[in-house]
């Protein structure tokens, strides 16, 4: 009984996912309210009709009370979590008791993260995002939604079964020698060879990594690449898992996933129209929408897009060598650029083992410019809406005149390309007339709609550049299929002898057996290095075929449940500012510690941890990096100039063990697990 719905403020469904139980629930619901003799309407219509009053009430509350719903709980313990991201309302529902409020909120944030990775800065324009998430063409819409649904299901499966997705940190395969060899191989042989090949079509491999199931065997980043954030890496692992569901114990290998490999977002051709300045584009607005969804379509009259630039043409599913467009965070010396375009090549080596290549696309400089302009207009809009006017509104870096000249150059440079920039040009001209002309209105509130419009136009340019496949006349911009194949073969040859070992190792990376002697009474532990986003934990895979030391069946399931609960409990305390928690629960004793160290391993004094509201972003690293964005930033205030590292340890002990001993165990684990050698006790 699970559901996730994304709706626009006008109650238009932008995406929905339901499990079979909830789908049936909705159909029964809707059937009950339908008159006799009428067949069941399309599922999308039912769900939209049933949720419409909630969605509309949400907007009313925001508009009139300045407050919004965050959750509902019914007496039979159905939970609804609501969160508004810009103009998109996310509603996650659970009716089977398997997910709590925190899980549902996390799910909405993860969904948003995946949409960002798939659509990049288009998500910054609600207007464009609405159209992107809900293509007019129903087949195309169905394909996109199916892809997103499958990603969401893959995520949910991993979150429920994989410890690294439970704590949202990457798990490495513990085999130092092999890891080192592989990294060297990726660096010296693979990446070098790829980047020196002429078949790379202007792309440059920045990162290469090998996944064994969800665990990382080797990761290499080229010298001029920025660090890949944990959040992005975890998302890419979900995408890779979704393409090649490698979990052998996964009951259904999801044959339909073949289709979902079709890539990021709609596969479509961009069809250039000869008359991009044609203002009479409203006709496409009035196209009847298929299905009788209640449409409360609201079109901002100020936003005039080149409508035909949004027309897309369907193509048959492309060949597997087509990369996936992903938008990842890039941190350069001059600053942080979110959602920069990359191509992701997922090359299966064997079932369960995948090579992933991330390349920089040749035109990515455009994305950086667009981002800078967007940022400038967003700042300006914010100041104007705060009531500042004139020079007060335009102060700061870069100066508005700087932006002006750069944007002029930018538009000029776009001119000769096939990108439709006339609409941007028009809006920009109008903006300049209003803002800069002598005797014109200048910088005041009236300019706000034009800031918005400029942002939308810029996002439109970005969309044309990075989201739509190049036209048929274009040379495909990607590593040639031959080159991809060579890369695949090279790594296969390298790992041939290790393949079976790796598959087993990934299931039993480290095992509790090795710890039993030193830590009697210890049942399980998880240790996370939040500064690098990596975790270590004894394997806890409980499946029909494989058993862990916990055995199989109810006891193992019970302990797994306890570990999952413990993580969610301690997150709740952490959210409220508690960094140490010990619990005596039934026959178990649980501990949780969070602490900081400097680079040399010196333990730093525990400081204040921010107290966050209940509906704040979930604590973790996948959807939103709490540890670096909130915790370390907050903590580093008192440790300026110092590198601060953050660690977490969770342990489960038998309750009969004296607390004193338990705490000693914890201390030993904490100091030994992350010794400089990075080798856990083995």
């Amino acid at each position: 009984m699970k559901c996730l719905l994304i709706a626009s403020e006008s109650a238009e469904v932008l995406f929905h996912w339901t499990d079979p139980e909830y789908q049936q629930h909705i159909q029964e619901q809707y059937g009950a309210s339908q008159e006799e003799g009428q067949g069941l309407p399309a599922f999308e219509d039912s769900i939209s009709t049933l949720f419409a009053p909630i969605i509309i009430s949400c907007s009313t509350m925001v508009d009139r009370l300045g407050d919004s719903y965050t959750s509902f709980t019914t007496e039979n313990n159905h939970i609804y979590v609501l969160h508004q991201f810009d103009e998109c309302l996310y509603i996650a529902v659970n009716g089977d008791g398997e997910e709590g409020e925190d899980d549902l909120r996390r799910k909405t944030y993860v969904m948003k993260k995946m949409i960002e990775v798939l659509f990049g800065m288009v998500t910054l324009s609600s207007y464009l995002l609405r159209r992107e998430l809900r293509p007019q063409d129903t087949d195309q819409r169905a394909r996109l939604w199916k892809h997103l649904q499958s990603l969401l299901e893959t995520y949910s499966h991993l979150r429920e079964n994989d410890q690294s997705f439970l704590v949202e940190a990457v798990e490495r395969l513990i085999h130092p020698t092999l890891c080192e060899q592989c990294i060297e191989f990726l660096e010296r042989r693979l990446v070098q060879q790829l980047n020196s090949s002429v078949e790379r079509a202007g792309e440059e491999v920045l990162h290469a990594f090998i996944l064994v199931h969800t665990k990382l065997l080797a990761f290499y980043s080229s010298r001029n690449a920025s660090t890949l954030s944990t959040s992005d890496l975890l998302t890419l692992i979900i995408m890779a898992q979704n393409m090649y569901p490698s979990d052998v114990d996964h009951d259904d290998p999801a044959p339909e996933d073949v289709e979902s490999t079709s890539g990021s977002g709609p596969e479509s051709f961009y069809t250039p129209e000869p008359s991009p300045t044609d203002r009479d584009s409203s006709s496409s607005e009035e196209k009847p929408v298929r299905g009788s969804t209640p449409v409360f379509e609201f079109v901002d009259p100020d936003i005039q897009m080149a409508e035909d630039s949004l027309q897309t043409l369907e193509v048959p599913p492309p060949d597997p060598s087509t990369p996936h467009r992903v938008f990842l965070e890039v941190s350069l010396k001059e600053g942080l650029y979110p959602m920069m375009p990359h191509s992701m090549y997922c090359l299966p080596l064997w079932p369960g083992i995948t090579l992933v290549l991330l390349t920089k696309v040749p035109t990515s400089a455009v994305a950086m410019s667009v981002y800078k302009f967007l940022e400038a207009f967003a700042k300006l809009e914010k100041r104007l809406s705060e009531g500042q006017e004139g020079s007060a509104a335009t102060r700061g870096q870069p100066t508005i005149h700087d932006v002006r000249s750069k944007l002029d150059k930018f538009i000029k440079a776009l001119g000769p390309s096939e990108i439709q920039s006339a609409q941007l040009q028009n809006v920009w001209t109008e903006f300049k007339n209003r803002a800069f002309a002598r005797g014109g209105p200048g910088f005041n509130r009236d300019l706000i709609p034009w800031c918005k419009n400029m942002k939308t136009q810029l996002c439109g340019i970005y969309r044309q550049c990075f989201l739509i496949e190049s036209g048929p006349t274009d040379i495909p911009r990607r590593l040639s299929p031959g080159l991809q194949e060579r890369a695949q073969t090279m790594v296969q040859e390298k790992l041939m002898d290790w393949k079976d070992f790796l598959l087993v190792k990934s299931k039993r990376n480290i095992t509790m057996v090795s710890y039993l002697e030193d830590f009697p009474g210890l049942i399980h532990f998880i240790c996370v290095d939040r500064s690098t986003g990596q975790m270590i934990a004894p394997s806890l895979s409980i499946t029909e075929r494989a058993t862990s030391e916990l055995g199989k069946g109810p006891v193992a399931q019970f302990i797994k449940r306890k570990v999952w609960d413990l993580v969610s409990t301690t997150r709740h305390y952490l959210q409220k500012g508690y960094s140490t928690v010990t619990l005596r629960d039934g026959d178990f004793y649980f501990c949780y510690f969070l602490w900081f160290e400097n680079e040399t391993g010196f333990k730093l004094e525990a400081g204040d941890i921010p107290v966050l509201p209940d509906d704040s972003a979930p604590i973790g690293m996948l959807a939103w990096d709490y540890y670096s964005r909130k915790l370390l930033r907050y903590y580093s205030k008192n440790h300026q100039g110092e590198v601060v590292k953050c660690y977490e340890l969770l342990t489960v002990h038998l309750g009969v063990i004296p607390t004193e001993i338990i705490l000693q165990h914890c201390r030993q684990l904490a100091s030994k697990l992350w010794e400089p050698s990075r080798n856990p006790l083995l």
Partner: protein, 613 residues
């Protein structure tokens, strides 16, 4: 009253009752449905916005999930919701208050209303909206009057500081109550002193309800309430409404309440024995009693049985053996305070299915109509007075009709109860969980609350309505207790008000679930900034304990404070050691002072009468 509300508003931000049945048509305005809205000075359009949106979204969600909404959260507020028939209650609190406590508060509020007014629907049919609004306001302010922030977390009875009072006085109070029970028309009672409980025979929930009326009369001069009569102005009474489970609990003999180990079927316990233990004296019961009861066989009883008969074999239903041949009386009797969770679970399940029983109530509920005419009145004994001050016109009229009322009661509840008493002597679980114990759901039985005030001391008795006309009984109760009450009052008055525990090197809070009492050395007053960390941790831990049945103890530490919490079936204890250095790295360390808290708590709290061993 408003003054009080405004100054305790930290707990409750909004409270409203909205009647959806009044806003059905297109043209109906939302304001028609607003029965009560707090804060009352809220602009009407904002009231309409909140009521309309929350009730609307609540209905939509309930329809989607086939179940009423219980909790509704906004970014800056959280609401406990109750939906019943067309009524929609919402109680909003700031986000710091644990949601379990908000839900509890709302249940208490509705229970309180029903206790003094009977069913909500009927109340609104019979009384004016303004009159009932004043009542909601009063109950709300009463429930919010807890002095410290801890009272926002635990809803507890305010008791006299027993460590400060001679135990003999407490024994004396208990004896007074037992003596009153010699009169068969007296169900149970409690003794209150200056708004605090000295001794009670009722479950905490019921005592809490009784105290509302007491505190109300305490603030007014008794003369305004009652005219002189044989008992002077010291005695007053008011009609109250008990739920079936409350009534069953009260009617079960005290011996059963406390001897849970008794395994012999109590059916066979001779009546006399029961009487003995009730009074702690060897006085035999008067002969007239049994015959009296025998003559009062009631057909009304059947209206109770359908709701329970098919619910569960385990639910302690008085009417089973008497009226339902399908359920032989040999069915297992649950021990009182049911040791196993069996019966309580079963009972919860039974009560969890409101929809099935709803129809029975709407049909069978008519029986209350006559009775409820009299519900508002603060009755003046001996009929001479001119009604309760706040009862307005109703009050005066009621005095004259007191006898009709009594006769009506004879036919209904009185007999039902007596019958129940005999056929199934084992008491039901005390009505602890308000969430399921919906007063609207179950039958409400009119009873009378009798108050005898001696200055700051009040004897409050729940009595059969018949009691008011039984002059002999009344005189007996009055005169037998008068001297003792005077004596008790004189003693209690001299007891120095327990100075708030000196702020020691530690703070603690100890909550007793069975008695609903809170012991703490927290000074309480507003602006207790140094205590904030303790209260915050306690609030989190309490929620955690409520949600995780298996959790026994916890230590949580932030940069500023380490707090230890432990709980058993009957109690929750929270402890924080002041001072000491909490300078640490947060890395696990067994020498860390936080982990010595359990030992310190055990040691330190012994002298407060808290045993954690």
């Amino acid at each position: 009253l408003k003054w009080i509300l405004r100054h305790t508003s930290s707990r409750c931000t909004y409270f409203f009752l909205y009647d959806g049945s009044k806003v059905k048509g297109e043209g109906d305005r939302t304001r028609e449905g607003i029965c009560y809205f707090y804060p009352e000075e809220t602009p009407l359009d904002r009231q309409e916005l909140l009521c309309g949106q929350l009730a609307g979204v609540g209905r939509c969600v309930s329809e989607l999930s086939f179940s009423p909404v219980r909790i509704l959260r906004l970014r800056r507020n959280k609401f406990a919701i109750r939906m019943k028939d067309d009524f929609f209650w919402a109680l909003g609190c700031s986000v710091e208050v644990p949601i379990v406590s908000v839900c509890e508060l709302l249940d208490q509020l509705i229970d309180l209303f029903c206790f003094y007014n009977g069913s909500v629907r009927q109340s609104y049919q019979l009384s004016s909206q303004e009159f009932l609004a004043a009542r909601w306001a009063r109950y709300l302010s009463h429930l919010q009057s807890g002095s410290s922030e801890l009272h926002h977390i635990f809803s507890c009875l305010r008791t006299i500081d027993s460590t400060n009072v001679d135990p003999l006085l407490l024994l004396k109070a208990a004896l007074i109550l037992q003596a009153c029970q010699r009169c068969p028309l007296v169900l149970a009672g409690c003794i209150l002193f200056r708004g605090r409980v000295v001794s009670t025979q009722m479950c905490p929930e019921l005592t809490m309800k009784v105290m509302v009326h007491e505190s109300e009369t305490y603030t007014k001069t008794p003369a305004a309430h009652c005219s002189s009569g044989p008992f002077g102005g010291a005695v007053s009474s008011v009609t109250v409404f008990l739920t079936l489970s409350e009534l069953q609990y009260l009617q079960s003999a005290p011996v059963n309440k406390h001897l849970s180990s008794e395994s012999t079927p109590q059916k066979e316990t001779p009546r006399r024995k029961t009487r003995l233990s009730r009074t702690l004296s060897d006085m035999p019961s008067t002969d007239s009693d049994p015959s009296d009861r025998g003559s009062l066989q009631s057909p009304q009883l059947e209206s109770f049985s359908p709701q329970l008969s098919d619910s569960s074999v385990f639910s302690p239903v008085p009417s089973h053996s008497a009226t339902d041949p399908l359920h032989p009386p040999t069915q297992p009797l649950q021990p009182p305070f049911s040791n196993g969770k069996h019966s309580s679970e079963a009972e919860d399940e039974a009560l969890e299915e409101p929809s099935y029983y709803h129809s029975f109530h709407s049909n069978g509920g008519d029986s209350q109509t006559d009775a409820s005419v009299f519900e508002e009145n603060c009755q003046v004994l001996n009929g001479g007075g001119d009604g309760g001050g706040d009862g307005g016109g109703d009050g005066g009229a009621a005095c004259g009709t007191v006898f009709d009322f009594r006769e009506a009661a004879n036919d209904e509840s009185h007999d039902g109860k007596e019958d129940g008493c005999r056929s199934a002597p084992e008491p039901p679980r005390p009505p602890h969980c308000g969430a399921f114990d919906d007063p609207e759901q179950s039958q409400l039985v009119p009873m009378t609350l009798y108050l005898h005030r001696v200055k700051g001391l009040v004897l409050a008795l729940l009595v059969e309505p018949l009691f008011l006309s039984d002059t002999a009984s009344m005189e007996e109760v009055y005169h037998s207790s008068l001297a003792s009450l005077n004596g008790l009052e004189a003693h209690l008055r001299t007891v120095a008000p327990g100075a708030p525990g000196a702020p020691g090197p530690y703070v603690f809070a100890h909550f007793d679930h069975i008695q609903s009492t809170l012991t703490t050395n927290l000074s309480g007053g507003p602006g207790g900034a140094p205590e904030r960390p303790f209260v915050r941790a306690t609030s989190l831990l309490h929620s955690h304990f409520c949600n995780t049945e298996t959790l026994q103890e916890a230590i949580i530490r932030s940069a500023g404070a380490a707090v230890y919490g432990t709980r058993s079936v009957a109690q929750e204890t929270y402890f924080q050691q002041h001072g000491g250095s909490f300078r640490n790295s947060g890395i696990p360390n067994h020498q860390d002072s936080a982990f010595s808290l359990p030992g310190k708590a055990r040691h330190r709290l012994l002298k407060h009468g808290v045993n954690l061993l």
